[in-house]
Each structure stands twice: as C-alpha cells, then as structure tokens.
Amino acid sequence: MTDLSTEFVGIKSPNPFWLASAPPTDKAYNVVRAFKAGWGGVVWKTLGEDPAVVNVNGPRYGAVHGKDRQLIGFNNIELITDRPLEVNLQEIKQVKREWRDRALVVSLMVPCEEKNWIDILKRVEDTEADGVELNFGCPHGMSERGMGSAVGQVPEYIEMVTRWCKQHTRMPVIVKLTPNITDIRKPAQAAKAGGADAVSLINTINSIVSVDLDLMAPNPTIDGKGAHGGYCGPAVKPIALNMVAEIARDPATRGLPISGIGGVTTWRDAAEFMALGAGNVQVCTAAMTYGFKVVQDMIDGLKDWMESKGHTSVSDFVGQAVPNCSDWQHLNLNYITKAKIDQDLCIKCGRCHIACEDTSHQAITAMVDGQRHFEVIDEECVGCNLCVSVCPVENCITMVEMTDGVDPRTKKPIERKFADWTTHPNNPNRVMEAAE
C-alpha cells in the first residue's frame, strides 16, 4: 500500500501537499475550498498586528509568460493579511475544528520585540492550530518596516526571534527563509541555533517582473510608479532546489526538517524537492494559476510514481538524492558522454545544429550527402547537453556514455577509474595520489 501521509515536525497531514502562506490561504472560504479539493495542509496567510496592513488598490501581480502565455514566473507586491487579526484567528479556530485531519499552520510576522511575539503566539495557540511559521522572507513592503526579509537577512535576528518563539509556545516553529541572501546555509544555521523545528524555503525573490515601455515604469505599475516585488512560480524552482539541497547537505543543519517551496507545479516537482531532503512541499503559484484542482494530479502522480518505484511511504525517498549532490571538484572527469540523435524521432528542425554550430563546438551536421541530416560528430562532441536542451522533441537526443575504446575527440582511451579535479595535473592545488 502506498501511503502519502506525512508527519512533519509532529504535524500530521494526509499528503505532503500544503498550500503556502499566500493569498489562497487568507480566508476560511478559500482554505475550506482547498481542503475539499484535497490539499493536505495550509499555512495560513501571514498574520500581523492590528491595525491591519493595507494593500495597494491597483495591480499587485505581474507575470512572465512562456509560449501560449503559460505562466512561467509570477511576481507580487501584496503584503501580509489585510484583515483584522481577530477575524483571522476566529476563522482559523473554526476551520481547524472542522478539518482535524489536515495540517493548519499559521504564518506570523510582528515587530522584533519579544513582547509582540509572546502576545501573538498566545492568541494563535488558542486556535489550536498545529504550528507556526515565522515569515522572515517577505521581500517587499514589510521589509521596509524592519520585518520579513529584513529579519531573514540577518542570521542573529533569526536566531533571536526563533528562540523567543520556542520559549513562549509549545507549538512547533517553522522558520521561513528568504532567498535574498548570499549563502542560504547561514540563516538556516541560525534558525537551528534558535531551536527551530524546521525551516521552509524559499520565500520570493526580489524582482522587477517587466517594464512598461510606454509608461517607462516597472510592472505592476501603480499610478506611474512601480516597486520591486517577490518572484515565484516555475521559474524559481531551480533556485529553490539548490537552496534546499545546500541546507540538506550542510553538516551544521543536516537532518533539520525542511518544507520545500518554490515553483512546485506538478507531482514531479514535489518529488524532486523531497528527494533533496524536503519532508513536504508548499505550493502557491500553481494553485493561483490553475485553481485548487491541481492537487489531484499531484496526489495521483506522486502515488503512481511511488508505486512504480516500490516506495510505500514518502520517507522512503525523502533525501535520497542528497548524497548525490556534490561539488564540481568531485565530479568524475573520466566520465565521457556523446550526444546521439534518434533519426526516427528527429523532425529536422536543425536547432541542435545551429546551437552547436553558432555557440558551441561545431559537433552536429546540417547536411550529409546533400541531404538535410543532423548527426553528431563524435570527434567534436564534448557531451555538453546543449543539443538535448534545445531539441523540441523529448528523448530525440540523448547523452550516451562511452564505456570503452578511445574518445574520438581527445583520442585518449576511456579510463574506467574515477578521477576528479582534485587530482588533475592541471590543478595547481592538486592532492598527490598516494603512491601504490
């Protein structure tokens, strides 16, 4: 039996798909719809102190579109909840009472004073919510007031606030990290030092999503002006994956539970985050793009994939890819691949040729015996994967490992022995191999 249920920092959830703290979780109405659609949990949109913040009354979102206006990247200048604190608390309490099997975590952001945190934690505890998430990530608006990413960018503040929270509540504390820093390991270490039960990441990335060339102002434009927003959606997934992996690999934070956030759109995205160490994932943009129904494919897809791999529980594969996250210097330089084009699948668009010819290694033909024909020239191919990346037909070009013989490019025999940069003769700092 394949079991999708998770227990993340003690919080039980029927599946690993939570809605992130964001517009979809601002009200009971939305959250109930999400639970009905099958979401395993929600992080309620960030609560602050009264009087509630206000939002702009013009456009607050902007987008980067791919082909056919597929939403690739998404940007917002919305602030934390703009509803009175008490209204949110009442709704949280009621929803939790009605949806016992779902995870309900409350996101918080108040000024950096211990008293403020004590006050709000008490009120949240009364709702019987499952835990809190500290919003140290919001990069716009709130950060100008010394909150959100202004806290998340200073590890000492993270540690301090986390410690207060752990001290003043029995609820699990998840610290949400901002990616707008140089080294994600530092804030994660600070959260751990403060006693955090988990970190969640990434929050949004500082962004100007586009420029209105008529108004000569950033989008979204409010009366002729624009402010940077927070970037999210499928485009940020690679950045998020790397940051999750960095924390999962770091000896100082190894084993610290991670809730993966950033562009999760499909079950596959979720599985990737989890393979890199995330115990569950949080989703926002995919829901805001397609509605709550997207979770159905996430649930079915993850289940089907787990079955095909023989996994019975998500813990079977969480973190499985972490040991394979390495540094460049430890990659095997004796591993040799050549691109191979499946002529039956090739549609002869020639993009592999022109990409290789113009910008890389001149390793793909355009014409053979007067015929339009695209074929890899092994003597030139460095195995870079550019052609695979630009080919419009999936699996038409694949990278094939050479396991024996001579590399036609270097004319050197294929070595089966592992050899990385640390021992390479060109490396002035190479470590000498021990004499045998």
């Binding site: 056919d68 549609i347 002869k348 668009c349 339009r372």
Partner: protein, 452 residues
Amino acid sequence: MADTLSAPDIRAGRLTSDDYLQNFDDIHPPLDPHEAAVEADRCYFCYDAPCTIACPTSIDIPQFIRQISTGNPVGAAKTIFAENILGGMCARVCPTETLCEEACVRNVAEDKPVSIGLLQRHATDTYMASISGTHFRRAPETGKRVAIVGGGPAGLACAHALALDGHDVTIYEARPKLGGLNEYGIAAYKSVNDFAQREVEFLLSVGGIKVETGKALGRDFTLSDLRAGHDAVFLAMGLSGVNALAAEGEDLNGVLDAVSYIAQLRQAKDLSVLPVGRRVVVIGGGMTAIDIAVQTKKLGADEVTILYRRGQDAMKASRYEQELAQIEGVVIRDWLAPKRIVGEGGNVSAVEAERMTLDSSGRLSGTGETVTFAADQVFKAIGQTFIADPVNGGSEPLALEGGRIRVDADRKTSLSGVWAGGDCVAGGEDLTVASVEDGKLAARSIHAALTA
C-alpha cells in the same frame, strides 16, 4: 428523356442576397491577434528553415513568425514584403499545403503544420491596416526607363522592385485594372473586400510607376516600339488563350469558358445577376476547375460535377483544394474524358464522357464505356495557352519553348534588353507566388544591366 427536352435551367438570382454575402465571404477568415499569437508560438524557428526553402520567393518565415510572436506584426509584414511584395495576396491564394506548410517540420511529429499562410495574412493585414501607403523608400532616380507589359503578379513585383531601385517604370495593361489573375481570376471568396486593388494601391504608393491601362501589346504598340523607347522591357502578359475541348458540341449554348466566367464574376457588383445552371458540369482538373465548380455551387447550382480524365491524384489542384470543393458539395468524378457535348435545340443538355484507364504502357486510353451527365451548363477549365502573335510584331522573333517564352535563370529572353516572367514563360508554374519570384528575379537582372 423529359429532362433533356425541356429548355436548360439556367437562371440568375437563385439565392437571397444574404446567401450571396455568406457564400462569398472570406473562405479562410483571418486570425485575430490572440489566435495569431497562439499559432506563432508553435513555430520552432528552424535552422535553414524548410518552409523558407519551399517558398518560391524565399520569405524568411521563421523570422516573420518570431516578429509576430514578439508583438511586432508590422515588422513581420516588412520581412514578408522584402521578399514578396504581393505577400498579402499570396497569403490568401498560395497552395501552402504543397509549399511552406508541407515543408513545416511540425508535420513530422504531429501531422499539423504551423498555419504559415494565415500568419502571413495576419502580418500583412495588420500592416495594411496600420500603415498608410508604404514604408518603402525609392533610391534616387536613375533616369532609366523600363516598360512592363502586363500588370499581373509578375509585372507588379518587377515594377515595384525596379521603382525602388530608382528606375522609371511604366506598366502597360490590356485590361481596365491592374492585378491580373489576382483581380480577374482568383476565386472571389479568397480575395474579399477588393483586396487585389488595395494591394495594387499599396504597391504603387512607392512612386515611380506609371500605369497605362487598356493598352495591349500587338494592338496598341509593338515590342519594337517598346524596345526603342525604353532601356529594358519586361514581358508578363500571362496566358490569354484558352484550350479548346476538341469535342463535338463545344459550340452549343451553355458551354462556357471558365476563365471568362470567373473574370465576369469577379467584376460583378451584384452576384445575383450571374446566370448559373441547375446542373453544372466542369471539365478539367486544375485550380480553375475547382474555382468555377465551387463558385457555381455558391451561386446556387444544384449539382456541380467535375469530370477529370485521369485519377484524382493527378489533378493539378491540391488534394486540400479538392476536399474543400467536396465539402462545398461538388462531386469529383475522375477517369472520365468528355467525348461529346450533347445538345437539344442548340442548347447543351448533357456531357457524354468515356471512362479512361492507363494501358499497359502507362498511357491514358479510353475503355469504350461511356457515361452521360445531364447538364444545363458546362464549363471548360482545361488550361490556358500563350498567344505568341503580339510579341512577334517586331523584326526579330522572340524564341519560344513549348509554346511559351523561353527565358534563362535571370528571366532574360532571347532578345537583348527584354526579360519575361509569370505564366507566359516556359517552365512557369501558374502560381501567383512563382510569378512574383519571376518579377523579382527579372528586376534584379534588369537593375544589374541598367547600372552596369
């Protein structure tokens, strides 16, 4: 048979005025900006794109589609016009299914090419709706004079290119309007809202082109006259003759030449005045056959049957065009050659056709079996011919090949200072786009000769 004894049923005004409007509306409605954006996104921006190679005028198709997708349809039109100044009409009439769209790599994996023709129309329509006149600017005047005979696609393309190079061009056109088959031949529903004339206006707006309509070579002037008065001459008068059926009864009332009927239809202000038979038989297998068949059906004919002497695959009209006709209700009967047009009291009443086959050596031959098709009206659409007399008015004869003017790769004829292109030259493909290319190539060669 009672049917053949009565007078043939040929009438005008078979339909309501709304029917005419609907039947002769744009057959392939233009893409709106959203549809164009979605379709443009399907282009892979191929290297050395097969579509461009397949285009007789070598339009940089990936480039113009990319311009549409980046929100620059006017720029896309400029890319199109750079290679094909009649890109607007070609977008409407090109058999794209056998040219660019047949070559599209999307066919390989999906069997569904990018709709290049419709995208080209989107770009050129957008251009014409947003630019008054033209973006082209003529080079300084050279003082060289070029005469162009025939204001069809080849003549117009040549005239535009030469005017752009600064030469002084005069187009001599026998008919009252420029445009050639774009104006007088293309099916009405492919060129709605007087597009052919709007395109002519756009093209002439570059300046430097004088137009003499109602002037025919061989009647109003000779080739020698033109050569004497100009630095170069381009002949592009098309095909003015029609093939004869060589079957008994060809002279009966109700047996018509499809080309003239279509010209009449194209010029008609009111389609309800055109007389059309209840049962129409069309003889032929090219685009003219398809166009007359579909148009008579749209004019209210009850039954329209195309008789073609070979198999459907051999028809010059593409399979796509054949299917469009069939969707309109036209019946295509192949392997049937007309033997005799049957008449009653001087009027056509039927067509007697012989069933054909290929003999053991692969030659077309009759089986002896005949089939009779009752008809009120019969259209001949069996090809046009070049009438050489007008070009031979001078002292030096112009060399012909297969009954049309012989030209080299630069579209030079056997006479010095005389170029030719379009349907009147040997090897012509009878395609608008091929004629445009002829005009373009000839202009390039003429310009080189004039500036040497």
